[in-house]
Symmetry: C2
Subunit: 196 residues, 2 copies
């Protein structure tokens, strides 16, 4: 075994886990989302930044408001999924840095006094946290259906504010009938990894 | 148990895993890196994009060339770590899309004919893949020390080309003496999650 992680966990999180396009009617509870968050909140970010914000879209009315901003091929998936989450990056994440990274409270002012610096740090670190969240959904025995085919400016205006930039919408639930395509190929290690 | 993932795996990947600042002398082999990649290559991205590129920095000479572009506080960590990886985003990832996403080969031209669209997609999806890679390092029983305190333009010029944009450098190895700070606090779920 080259990996320390057991096979069942490898399969659950990566090897057998798949992006789902259909879901059963089984609900996804707030307790499940809380358990996912309480696991993935430990995923590392720069200076322990925590820009990720999760907007759960539950009500049918909110679901319809969201669907109108999605690419046509994504709309039915989202109105049918038991739970949908809009992930956004909080540009004002630096306000929490003195609490989250007490080793260097000045980081807030030294690195993040300018909004463009915050925007790029928030985008990177919220994306890292989004990946942890997807892994967390799988860790809960659920399937994630992340989507970037959306009018995110429209979603931001509809559900968020100027300081919260949405970048992915994730359907969450147990996989339903014909939930996925055939597995797509992956790049070989020698196409990705070089050594200097 | 609200989560399907077993406790040992939760601890290995998230709850007990920590960002390491010091490492033992135990080598990290190419076989280990290959095993990490062969696990995390299955992590989901938009249209199965695979922009992540991993540049392993092994030789002492290359290590020195890299260290000069790192923030002062990061230099010693990197010269002492058994293995260092520069993660970059390949802006020309769209060339592989017809292979990686055969369900919609036109995506390459429909969405990614303009470089700015490729730059933003590469940044997001390579960041997702970087998070999977960090999880993979932990899955291998190793510790990751990701760093964003660096002159990435300098690193790009030194090791890469215009089409490969570095965004994080990761020290990899077994944790050494006094490998980490005390665990920083995390945001509570109700600071991160809202429902509409």
């Amino acid at each position: 075994m080259t990996l320390a992680l057991d096979s069942a966990a490898q399969n659950l999180l990566f090897r057998e886990a798949r992006t789902a396009n259909t879901f059963t009617d089984d609900p996804v509870t707030d307790e499940q989302v809380q358990a996912i968050y309480d696991l993935i909140k430990f995923g590392p970010t720069a200076f322990n930044q925590a820009p990720l914000r999760i907007t759960l879209v539950r009500s049918p009315a909110a679901r319809e408001r969201l669907a109108q901003h999605l690419a046509e091929g994504n709309q039915k998936k989202t109105t049918a999924a038991p739970l949908v989450a809009i992930l956004s990056a909080d540009i004002e994440f630096h306000e929490e840095l003195p609490t989250l990274y007490p080793h260097f409270p000045a980081a807030k002012d030294v690195f993040y006094s300018e909004r463009p610096a915050r925007e790029s740090a928030a985008a990177l670190n919220a994306a890292l946290q989004a990946a942890y969240f997807i892994i967390g959904i799988r860790a809960a025995g659920l399937a994630a259906g992340p989507m970037t085919g959306a009018d995110f400016a429209g979603i931001q205006k509809e559900f968020l504010d100027d300081d919260h930039v949405p970048f992915v919408v994730i359907n969450i639930g147990k996989p339903g009938q014909d939930a996925w395509f055939a597995r797509g190929p992956r790049l070989e290690a020698d196409q990705v990894i070089t050594t200097v």
